[in-house]
Symmetry: C2
Subunit: 195 residues, 2 copies
DNA sequence: TGCAAAACACTAACCGTTAGTGTTAGGTTC
DNA sequence: GAACCTAACACTAACGGTTAGTGTTTTGCA
């Protein structure tokens, strides 16, 4: 069974992007709450059920581009240089991620997220999922087969660093401040990190 | 304008409790997702609109008893002994809160929360609100008029401690582990906590 | 007793989401 | 190329949480 790199996959991806683009356009133009799922489907010239076969929820339409957040975070932990310590590697990645979402093009989206309770909730939930994945990566990095409380805690602190920095007046400085705390927390906990 | 301690307030509180009790009973009996709002309203012998005038959402029905979480957390920070440091006071309160929700009577509710995505999301959102309130309390304790990144960070770490401990196999030990980290983080950040 | 406000009830709907049921198009096999 | 299978898509109808609109009762107070 090969990977089917054919026209079908391209068409599917095109439909998905068409929906996401239509959604983002309408959301930014009229506001998230003022746009209904049926509006988005109509704008993308697609049935409502088709929309929901590509996106699990209305909120997911907004975070379509941020699917790689978790991948990048986990990658920063697992694929770092052989002698680079964990926390600085994560700090570097968080810096990059925060920079990325304060870009000219991404900023309006995040402004919308911050103003929409339902989107905030969704993003908080995503962060917890990302933290879980990061915790597993950190545990594996320590040679553990399961996560410990310390792994889970440091992972959560790291994703909170992203969240706090994103909302701060001076994001890079905020990343530095929070990572100073995380570094200290990690050093204090390393003795019992192994379980 | 006095505080209207009359019959009206008592009746309102009684209706509220009647609804919450009916909801909790049905949720624990049949499962959260298997019970509809209309079922709850019927069981409480109340109109659906009345239910929603007492509770903002279906999820809020479950967390009715935990309205004092934030109050207790903020209280631990603001009303502690004159010479007791901040972090130990918070640690003591988190211990108490975790103990409280692992009680025989509260445990089934939290089991239901953990198994229901919509309730998990709601609780995460509550935690963020509680963290904001705690951050303001901590800032005020430091003589600041606004919260800083460090205040917000330590507040989030504290509410995460609750969350992590609640899910841990050995909650009290988990509280200790996470607070060891928080203590170190706080010490490292104290120099720049003032802004 | 009369009045204003609050609590409550009822209907009907809105909106996100899903089930059920086809229909079409793409890829696979012979 | 014909037969066939699957995935993508469309359509209708509904479910369940939530709210608007409207009216009725209850309560506190003058």
């Amino acid at each position: 069974m090969t990977v089917m790199p054919g026209r079908r996959e391209r068409k599917k991806a095109a439909t998905r992007r068409k929906i996401a683009d239509a959604a983002l356009g309408l959301f930014l133009e009229r506001g998230y709450d003022a746009v209904g799922i049926r509006d988005v489907a109509a704008e993308a010239d697609v049935a409502v059920t088709t929309l929901f076969s590509h996106f699990a929820s209305k909120e997911a339409l907004v975070f379509e581009q941020d699917q790689d957040f978790e991948r990048r975070l986990v990658g920063a932990a697992t694929e770092r240089g052989p002698h680079e310590p964990l926390i600085p590697a994560l700090r570097r990645e968080i810096h990059a991620l925060v920079r990325h979402c304060t870009t000219e093009e991404a900023a309006p989206i995040w402004r919308m997220v911050d103003q929409t309770p339902s989107l905030r909730e969704y993003e908080e939930s995503m962060r917890m999922r990302h933290a879980d994945a990061l915790a597993r990566a950190i545990a594996a990095d320590l040679g553990l087969t399961q996560t410990t409380t310390v792994c889970r805690a440091v992972a959560r602190f790291v994703v909170e660093a992203f969240s706090l920095a994103r909302e701060a007046a001076d994001p890079p400085t905020a990343v530095e401040e929070v990572f100073t705390m995380i570094e200290a927390a990690w050093e204090a906990a390393r003795p019992c990190a192994q379980g």
